[in-house]
Amino acid sequence: MPRIYLDNAATTPIDNEVLQEMYNVMETHFGNPSSIHAHGREARTVLEKARKTVAGLLKVSPAEIFFTSGGTEADNMAIRSAIVDHGIRHAITTRIEHHAVLHTLQALEKAGSISLSFVGVDAKGNVNMEHLQDLLATNERSFVSLMQANNEIGTLTDIEAIGELCSQYGAIYHCDTVQTMGHYHHDLRKLKVHFITCAAHKFHGPKGTGFLYVNPAIRINPMIYGGAQERNMRGGTENLYGIAGLAKALEIAYRDMDQHQAYIQELKSYMISRLVEDVPGVEFNGEIGPEKSLYTVLNVSFPVMEMADMLLFNLDISGISCSGGSACSSGTNIGSHVLEGIVANPDRPAIRFSFSKFNTREEIDFTVSRLKEISSSLI
């Protein structure tokens, strides 16, 4: 059996249709979209067509989409620009946000720009809405950053409710949608949000490209200066094939969304039931129900075992790729800040399995059977 890839929350394999689109752009439209000659104008057409595609899918105007080098840049741009440009002195987030949000807010706190409040989360990672309301009510105009789905445990947040609450208190709401973009429909005509973010490589698009949606009700300045690109909001020659690939990937994601969602949800539910049957003492971190959790992520908590750190290693030897947490911090030996944030038992080893449309039931069967053997051998 070829290697099994169950780390799709870290990155996804690129879709062949996307790749063909990118090759096409590479070969035929190499111009700089800012050049006014024919090569440049053709490149500009590719760029604006991509923007229109993305905007159409999210039901916004193309002028509200700003392409970036990825999710981290988009998060940084929203947070830094909004806080600085609007003189925000207070921000609200959770301790289980992605580091692109958490570390950025902490850097601003350290620089003395803001004070930072952490809204409480329960043992499954759900945001305490009463606490959020308290924080909004007792502070001056806040900047709120709460992600739609946690990248490690998959717990979904009711972003519509948070949007309503933020709007009620005049807060600026940034929602990190890097894990959910292309996996759920986002109708921005209805959602009360100022910023959402996207990284193409999380839904079978290319790495190195993403976007920031900016609600027209809010004005911000650029984070990267130098050139009139992105309507003066983001300097730098556009990553044209990346952007074309992003648009194609999002188009495919929306086109096949219901079908893929049903398929992947089925795989996840199947894995849950197989694990419960076959691996004694297994539990799950975060929400696991279809309504309350991201269908691509399953965080499994294994019973306390002596050689816990051998678990991932043994899975890798068996040809199964998965993760102990976010790839962005997986090089460190520090435990997951998300699991710490939901006060999970630190002695129970946790593994994140994350799925895509390319995974199969056979792969799940193989993975569960290997997990059964490995975990019993390590106890």
Binding site: G31, N32, G226, G227
Partner: protein, 403 residues
């Protein structure tokens, strides 16, 4: 020969097919996240990154640990200037740069002025070079950074980098250079040149768009920059965000190809450029902009007096050329670079930048010569100013009457 011919290689370059070949496996089989440390997909991606980092470092004589990958030169310029400003603010707030820098440097400096920076914009001489004495005079005890580009994007002029670095260091300032146009075209060595920080990008050297790097010196002195994008702590904490693995691999390959082929390629290009220039300057009242001795081998910027600029661009529709930087070409303003050399608005408007590249052929250059001559002559035939000039009227002394 395919029309229009592409002579705008300073704006962007077509990707070398060998670069794309190197990238392909990282789109398909080796698609992992380079930060995934506990499985084979992650390791394969990381291996690709490590190799590319060596290829990139080698081109500029750096150590691979000194390379920070970014989304391009603009981001690298921003990171260098803002990063130094924030990191060294205890020491001072003064930055010295120059009026002919790229917008990525100038706009960043202007932004920092609002944040408390004091910035000196050095003028340039008629040939586009800065005056070293003026640089030294501008330095104060608050100067933390000197930011001067290596090769100019519009006129190709190469600044005396080594001397500039020495002056900066003599006064305890760091030296940063935007070398986007120079790296891969001429030998650049961060050690020999005494460069502390250097920005460049892939798509100006036949690599992919959306990827670039900042060199940050680690020894003598150890230079630090404050991160401008926080997150997972990638690139040793200086630049977070999932690495663009195929882009970086392509960038690495592009650097390697430039390193291996530079000596021959620069000879070929400068010969073609000289041919173009020699032929076009046989036209009356045409002038080459910028110092011709210290210049990138592939750039020629020529002004054609008594020719209407927009008409010239229109008449040359079979050639993709530019009248200035792509980043500012959408505006109708004349080039600020040419104006700072002392050109009038009119002359700046009637200037063309010819940017030759790896895929430019002699046939194309001959075609460009013929087309340009035809266009200039045709427009002059229609021009009353040209007629007056030919009649010996000194146009500078004419008093125009408005109707």
């Amino acid at each position: 020969m395919n029309l229009p011919i592409y002579l705008d290689n300073n704006a962007t370059t077509p990707m070398d097919p060998r670069v794309l070949d190197a990238m392909v496996p990282y789109f398909t089989q080796k698609f992992g996240n380079a930060a995934s440390r506990n499985h084979a997909f992650g390791w394969a991606a990381e291996e690709g990154i490590d190799y590319a980092r060596e290829q990139v470092a080698k081109l500029i004589g750096a150590n691979e640990k000194e390379i920070i990958f970014t989304s391009g030169a603009t981001e690298a310029d921003n990171l260098a200037i803002k990063g130094v400003f924030e990191m060294y603010k205890e020491k001072g707030n003064h930055i010295i740069t120059c009026v002919t820098e790229h917008k990525a440097v100038l706009d960043t400096c202007k932004h920092l002025e609002k944040a408390g920076a004091s910035v000196t914009y050095l003028p340039v001489k008629e040939d586009g070079l800065i005056d070293l004495q003026e640089l030294e005079n501008a330095i104060t005890d608050k100067t933390i950074l000197v930011s001067i580009m290596y090769g100019n994007n519009e006129i190709g002029v190469i600044q005396p980098i080594k001397e500039i670095a020495a002056i900066a260091h003599k006064h305890g300032a760091l030296f940063f250079t935007d070398a986007t146009q120079a790296v891969g075209k001429i030998p650049v060595d961060v050690i020999a040149d005494g460069i502390d920080l250097l920005a460049f990008s892939g798509h100006k050297m036949y690599g992919p768009k959306g990827v670039g790097a900042l060199y940050v010196r680690r020894k003598n002195p150890r230079v630090k920059v404050t991160a401008q994008m926080d997150g997972g702590g990638h690139e040793r904490g200086m630049r977070s965000g999932t690495l663009n693995v195929p882009g970086i691999v392509g960038f690495g390959k592009a650097c390697e190809l430039c390193r291996l082929e530079m000596a021959e390629e620069s000879k070929r290009l400068s010969a073609l450029r000289d041919k173009l220039e020699a032929s076009l300057t046989t036209l009356e009242e045409s002038y080459v902009n910028g110092n011709r001795e210290f210049r990138l081998p592939h750039v020629a910027n020529i002004s054609f007096k008594y020719v209407e600029g927009e008409g010239l661009m229109m008449a040359m529709k079979d050639m993709a050329v530019s009248s200035g930087s792509a980043c500012t070409s959408a505006s109708l303003e004349p080039s600020y670079v040419l104006k700072s050399l002392g050109l009038s608005d009119d002359l700046a408007h009637s200037s063309i930048r010819f940017g030759l590249g790896r895929f430019t052929t002699e046939e194309e250059v001959d075609f460009a010569i013929e087309q340009t001559k035809k266009a200039v002559n045709h427009l002059r035939d229609l021009s009353p100013l040209w007629e007056m000039f030919k009649e010996g009227i000194d146009l500078d002394k004419v008093e125009w009457v408005e109707h």
